[in-house]
């Protein structure tokens, strides 16, 4: 129970939350005693994020973010910048709050009852959670790709055209056709589906579906794309294609990607953020994180001692 008094900077977590957090640590630690010692020891060090969480030309700027689900706190005092046209990977064990954090960036957490977000989040200097902010154009600027491919039960064409249609982006049919084609091309799907645009999107393979979802997201010309474990439901070949795609998209978009796979983070991102129990432990260049992590917890995670 020593951990409770240690992070003085952060709001005092509820009693039961602390218990479960300790339990979690204990559970993962039972595998080897050395890890247990390490986990307990490093608890005190999470108080401050190590590495370089901030950058100069930030597209998204988050300061002191706290997220609560009802009474329970899911994110503790996280500050992070995501630079323009940069890919930032967020890694960490299950339930560490990385997905929750991602969903704050385009206010998808609004759809969850009892979810409360505190702190300053800005997109190009504009507050994301400002009282007058309309989530509709915000989400058009900050697109999202989900863990499980979720194409609408419509045709491939309609899936991609959905965003432009609701936002009224295309004024003519030809314009819409062009947007659909461009988006599918950028998602690397055009050649595979150009002959069956009127077939249902749910009929595609898993990897194709996820690329369709990416095409759907870029069809509204977003500035930022959030990806929530986009490859977790895909086989290695499909995963490789998506990673290639992320590589290409980086030229034009700012991308934040949550992933379970450290190899993936290493392959696609420039910066990597390591989350642990709702806290941001370390942010650094991807290379630094994977070759020379500053924090013991990060090292323990990337060397596979828990996760």
């Amino acid at each position: 129970m020593t951990s409770m008094t240690l992070n003085a900077g952060a709001p005092v977590p509820a009693q039961d939350k602390t218990n479960s957090a300790t339990d979690l640590t204990d559970k993962s630690a039972t595998e080897s005693t050395s890890v247990k010692q390490q986990a307990v020891k490093t608890q005190e060090d999470i108080a401050e994020t190590v590495g370089s969480p901030f950058c100069d030309e930030a597209k998204l700027r988050m300061r002191n973010v706290n997220v609560f689900y009802g009474e329970a706190q899911a994110i503790h005092d996280v500050s992070l910048d995501i630079g323009r046209n940069q890919v930032v990977a967020m890694i960490g064990p299950s339930g560490c709050g990385k997905s929750t954090f991602l969903r704050c960036l385009n206010r998808m957490n609004d759809t969850i009852e009892g979810c409360r977000v505190e702190g300053d989040l800005t997109l190009d200097g504009e507050a994301i959670y400002g009282p007058k902010v309309d989530v509709v154009p915000l989400r058009a600027r900050v697109g999202m790709v989900f863990q499980k491919p979720n194409p609408f039960p419509k045709s491939i064409y309609d899936n991609v055209a959905y965003g432009p249609k609701i936002h009224g982006i295309a004024s003519r049919r030809a314009e819409l056709d062009e947007i659909v084609e461009n988006s599918l091309r950028r998602a690397g799907l055009w050649d595979e589906v150009k002959d069956r645009l009127d077939k249902p999107g749910t009929g595609l393979s898993g990897g194709q579906q996820q690329r369709l979802c990416i095409a759907r997201a870029i069809a509204v010309s977003p500035e930022v794309i959030l990806m929530d474990e986009p490859c977790s439901a895909l086989d290695p070949i499909a995963t490789a294609r998506i990673e290639e795609l992320i590589h290409e998209l980086r030229e034009n978009y700012t991308i934040a990607i949550v992933t379970h796979s450290m190899q993936q983070a290493a392959r696609v991102s420039q910066r990597t953020a390591y989350f642990h129990l709702g806290k941001l432990v370390e942010v650094n260049d991807t290379e630094t994180v994977f070759t020379n992590p500053e924090h013991d917890l990060t090292e323990a995670y990337i060397t596979g001692r828990f996760g």
């Binding site: 039960p153 609701i166 759907r216």
Partner: protein, 459 residues
């Protein structure tokens, strides 16, 4: 022996059989090394013996009770030389004989009738005697057989469980028997109806007036059985009902599933469901005494001619009745649409209503259509509201302010009161019942199929 006495005796025998079976099993166990040497627990031997003792006897007793009147009647009527031709005449004669046998017929008693009554009495007496003898012999004999077969090696439990399983299966088959019963009862009488009224006239005739005059020379003595006005009336009322129920039910379901918070939902949902629990006769009363006069007055104040029993009143109230039905079915299918689809749409910047209209509803459409079809089948088959509020006049009209009649109203009118099963008037009700059964069957079948396919899609 009277049947109740016999029944009581049989129950007693069953108890005795259980007791003796139980104790014999224990005795058998003692001689062969304790309870453990038995293949089953002693109580199973008891139940096994009791089943042998009681079950066949009960089945035979049941059959006897069902058929014995008919057999005795056939024997009595068979012995009478000159009996009337018509079924009604025969019924009357037999009723006379029964009354005479019971000793409450006064009036002109012919010797022939006297003989028949005596015959009936003697048949009944011997029938009772035979019944008692048969049941007791069967029960004791089979009970004794099972009792004697008890041995430690006998697998009593398996045998008992086998019988139980068969009983369970028989109960499950009740649904099939019911369907067959419905089909047989409406089909049989409908065929008799179609012998006197051609199917084509019934299905395509435009005039309905089933009242048969007493004398053949009166006006309209033949009755007219063209059911088209009933079908249109039913469709008109159902259409009005669906016009109310579908938008209101669907929108409430959408609001409750997509917009309302937990608190609103926990209050509004049970409140709406009250509407589903109100008996139809209450809706009928409400429609006839409150809504219909209100609509009539309203129409008159707008200068329209309205009947006091209008299709609109019945349809509106029926619509209100069906709202919770549509809303709970839609609620189910809307909730079955995966959250990931909503997230996908919201993540692209859709408003909530765009998400609902363009993604959730299209995805849930098959389920919603299935639910609406079930609701239509309910509206078509709904009886009390239309009986009390829609009227009897078989008008061929599409004006909702006029009085119309429906298939169910006519079934009730034709069958309440005196029934003559040899007149087309009574039989017509069964033909209408057949139409009703077939149309709702088709609707239900399609609806259940669509809903099932929809469920599988997201499972």
């Amino acid at each position: 022996m009277q049947t109740p006495t016999l029944f009581a005796l049989l129950l007693l025998l069953i108890l005795v059989a259980y007791g003796t079976g139980f104790s014999r099993a224990i005795a058998a166990a003692r001689s062969s090394g304790g309870i453990r040497s038995l293949a089953s627990l002693p109580s199973y031997y008891g139940v096994h013996t009791a089943l042998w003792c009681g079950l066949p006897a009960l089945i035979i007793l049941g059959c006897w009770l069902v058929f014995d009147d008919a057999i005795i009647r056939a024997m009595v009527m068979g012995s009478i030389a000159d009996k009337p031709e018509s079924i009604a005449g025969q019924n009357l004669l037999y009723a006379q004989i029964q009354n005479l046998a019971a000793g409450n017929l006064v009036g002109n008693v012919t010797p022939q009738l006297q003989d028949a009554a005596a015959h009936l009495e003697s048949l009944r007496a011997s029938g009772r005697w035979m019944q008692t003898a048969l049941i007791l012999i069967l029960s004791i004999g089979l009970g004794a057989y099972a009792f004697l077969r008890i041995s430690p090696e006998m697998r009593a439990r398996e045998k008992v469980e086998k019988v139980l399983r068969i009983i369970l299966l028989a109960c499950a088959c009740a649904a099939i028997f019911t369907t067959v019963g419905i089909l047989l009862s409406v089909l049989f009488e409908s065929l008799r109806f179609f012998q006197s009224v051609p199917v084509t006239e019934f299905l395509f005739g435009l005039h309905w007036s089933p009242q048969m005059a007493l004398r053949a020379d009166q006006v309209g003595s033949s009755g007219a059985f063209g059911a088209v006005p009933l079908f249109t009336g039913t469709l008109l009322v159902s259409a009005i009902a669906m016009f109310v129920a579908v938008p209101v039910g669907l929108m409430s379901a959408i609001y409750l599933a997509e917009y309302a918070g937990k608190k609103v939902r926990s209050v509004a949902k049970p409140l709406l469901e009250i509407l589903a629990g109100v008996p139809t006769v209450v809706y009928g009363f409400f429609a006839a005494l409150t809504v219909a006069p209100f609509i009539r007055d309203l129409a008159q104040s707008m200068g329209l001619q309205a009947s006091s029993e209008s299709a609109l009143a019945a349809g509106l109230v029926m619509g209100v009745m069906i709202i919770p039905f549509v809303s709970s079915l839609s609620d189910d299918v809307i909730n079955a649409v995966p959250q990931s689809l909503r997230d996908g749409a919201l993540g692209l910047g859709s408003t909530k209503s765009e998400t609902v209209r363009k993604v959730v509803i299209p995805a849930a459409l098959p389920g919603i259509v299935g639910g609406v079809l079930l609701a239509v089948s309910r509206a078509i088959g709904e009886t009390m509201i239309v009986v009390m509020a829609a009227g009897l006049a078989a008008n061929l009209t599409a004006n909702p302010l006029e009085s119309v009649t429906t298939v169910t109203v006519q079934i009730v009118t034709l069958l309440v009161g005196d029934q003559e099963f040899d007149s087309p008037k009574t039989l017509a009700a069964f033909a209408l019942g057949l139409m009703l059964f077939i149309s709702t069957l088709i609707l239900n079948f399609i609806a259940l199929h669509v809903v099932k396919k929809y469920r599988e899609q997201y499972d």
